[in-house]
Symmetry: C2
Subunit: 458 residues, 2 copies
């Protein structure tokens, strides 16, 4: 059994040359003037919403554990840790900020073919670099949009990536953060190719760790890996030129299906940041249509102690992602469809308070979630759900959700995002500073130096 | 299309419960007294060989680029950077040392079902932690062996991992470094489970980056991720308890085939560190049988300018890993079968000097490699090769290699490892210090404080 070998070279697959190079050429020359107003405004909404999520998350016990290590081993304290009155090194603050941005599962979610919480990795990387050299609001918004393009499009080129068990906020987040950081540093086209190559080759995060402290750690590590990638690329550190499309590159080894031709589709015409979703609820996004339904039903049905059963019909992804039946911790309860249905019905809310350790273990919640039955229904979209509550006296209430709150087809209004930000930020930094941040961010493209914004968030 | 959902919980696959827990219970209580002398001696050989590779690698231009970033952003300078007269932070020195250990592709290789350069990630992690608290030679050797068990066994549970395009020194290296670091820190069994979970969820490195600076960066990042994982686990940071065997865990998402039952096979009986290989040549291990053959043929055949053709028959992996036909850089030439055959025939050697940018571009080498023809032969093992040189006058010389030098079945002698160490280390740190290191490491289990060893390597 022997066969003659023709000359082989590592690198590009035969049919899809130059995809990484073309994407990076686009990203490297991107300027604020290229962005349509819709992308700029999506950026303002994204920054405001994410800052609130990170500030609210800054008080989570997970962050205290993380900081106890990073404060010992981290680099020179030059980058603000949000809400914590401390600074860390340029590679360490992104870990902390990325983790606090994602720990409540309250941060924005891109559903355009991928399930990516892009802002936690991207903004954590960009804010750290914004304290190294002066960065304007326009610079930040441009790099932020660039990060979305890189991360989301890499995911579109790897369509079986999520089904393969990866946590995309770790994997695509690393690529997104690397591209955003490279854009902010003003890397040239070849350096940007290397930044993407170095960032992607650090991409990691397993869904196995959902419901643990590692899930939000993925976001922080992605941010840090992206910063390191861009700094190294700037110094001439190299990588493959075909990290996305290569034979052993991202789309082929992180996904059983590669559609690399999608990566450049409508580049410069469709702006992925405009398809970002913002969460009204502090849990996995596939739970949101169910929450809408349960809150609507709670307003109509009598008290919970008269409920016989709750029936849900959901998209199959809601079960595969949020199938935890009996969560013992707040973090695990964010991935429990039954907990969510029960607590949303009881509390008529699904905010931070509904996903604490205490609430996950509360007997009333546990009793009601035992009465929840779930059916998957492939005809329902990821933003759709149907729910029914049957009472002991035979009464029955039903509700159908066509597009969950906070999704692209039913977006949170600017006012709702502002209210969410204030509710998240005020308990941590007070009303005055929260109000000033709000004012800055709604006019971020007029703002001269991001350090002024970070000082308000410290 | 709807279906009733039974209660689902994240985590273990039904049939393979507790594999990670059982492995970690073993690792957490491992003590020096548990190690057979063969494992201890493999540890001594591994430390000596690796220190030489890292010292030789410390002068590589890639390291200078890396250090220029790490020196700016790294943590408090408490951990020695080998051969560089500088220190870096506890998370940063492992990146530098891991990269320099692997950059020449001269470091040890485990071929027991996986292709893992285990020492670069493991020892880089352990040396950094050895400057935080006093660590004895026995502590180090025990943790070193623990790292091999975790990394190699995780790979055995994921047998399609390498074929999937992953660079195992990045992925398995992260797991190995996390386990070794956790063992050195004295983590208890549950903390060790978390250290493995946190380390594995950072596991990354794509084969796409072979021949670039990223390849050895994978080793460094793996080391750093392992240190961070162990430090976090010590503080109560958690993870999945089933990171290896879980439904969305390592063996299933990093490999299209999972054989989780192999992870615990003969645990405590078979010591993976005893199956480690040491390289006589500074390039990918699958090239080594070809090098043995070419050096043997060069001793018999007349001068290279009379060569008509060189014919090679190799295991298919040698082509899939080292198929670069026309390398332009020294790093790429380490993955070129044709460069290797040509340069080994011309120089009767395959050391550091044969894989420089200059040698890769030399016209004599380029001319001869154009005359190399390659056939794959599935009947040949990874450590086997056949080569023939046909001269212009019709003469013909053939050579068959049954087990390449430096593999388990044809190991480098202790004397050869010592000579390799001295050749690598002396140009960097001088003869006196190199000799002292040699004396220390051959009696490492008698040595009281690893900091004394690191001072010699600075």
């Amino acid at each position: 059994m022997s066969s003659q070998v023709t000359r082989a070279e590592y690198g590009a697959a035969a049919l899809d040359l130059n995809i990484t190079k073309d994407l990076c050429a686009f990203l490297a020359v991107l300027s604020f003037e290229d962005l349509p107003e819709a992308a700029v405004h999506a950026g303002r909404r994204g920054v405001l919403d994410w800052l609130g999520c990170a500030l609210a998350g800054s008080r989570h016990p997970t962050i205290t554990k993380l900081l106890s290590v990073l404060e010992e081993v981290g680099g020179p304290a030059r980058a603000t840790v949000l809400g914590r009155q401390t600074k860390l090194g340029l590679l360490d603050a992104p870990i902390a900020n990325g983790q606090m941005g994602h720990v409540l599962d309250f941060d924005d979610t891109h559903l355009g073919g991928v399930v990516l919480h892009a802002s936690s990795p991207i903004l954590s990387a960009l804010f750290a670099l914004s304290e190294r050299n002066a960065v304007t609001g326009r610079d930040l918004l441009t790099a932020y949009a660039a990060g979305f393009e890189a991360g989301v499009r890499a995911g579109q080129g790897a369509p079986a990536h999520h089904a393969g068990g990866w946590h995309l906020t770790g994997t695509l987040g690393s690529i997104a953060a690397g591209a955003a950081a490279g854009q902010l540093l003003g890397l040239n086209s070849q350096q940007m190719v290397h930044a993407l190559g170095i960032a992607a080759t650090q991409a990691a995060g397993m869904q196995q760790n959902r419901g643990t402290m590692c899930k939000s750690f993925h976001a922080g590590k992605a941010a840090s890996s992206g910063v390191l990638a861009a700094l190294l690329a700037q110094k001439g550190f190299d990588s493959s030129d075909e990290i996305l499309e290569g034979k052993r590159g991202f789309c082929r080894i992180y996904s059983s299906i590669a559609k690399t031709e999608l990566i450049l589709d409508q580049l410069g015409e469709r702006w992925e940041i405009t398809r970002n979703g913002h969460k009204p609820y502090a849990c996995g996004v596939v739970l949101h249509p169910t929450i809408d339904a349960m809150i609507a039903l709670a307003a109509r049905a009598p008290a919970a102690d008269q409920v016989a059963t709750i029936e849900l019909r959901v998209n199959p992804l809601a079960v595969s992602i949020t199938g935890v039946a009996d969560p013992k911790t707040g973090l695990k309860s964010k991935f429990s469809l039954t907990h969510t249905a029960a607590v949303a019905f009881l509390d008529r809310a699904a905010g931070i308070a509904q996903y604490t350790d205490e609430r996950a273990r509360h007997p009333d919640v546990a009793a009601l979630r035992d009465r929840v039955g779930v059916q998957t229904d492939e005809s329902l979209g990821k933003d759709q759900a149907w729910a029914a509550v049957a009472m002991r006296n035979g009464d029955r209430y039903e509700h159908q959700v066509v597009h969950a709150s906070g999704t692209v087809d039913n977006p949170m209004s600017d006012a709702a995002i502002e209210a969410k930000f204030l509710a998240n930020a005020m308990p941590v930094i007070g009303q005055e500073r929260a109000s000033r941040i709000r004012d800055v961010v709604w006019h971020l493209d007029q703002f001269g130096d991001i350090r002024g914004l970070l000082d308000l968030c410290a």
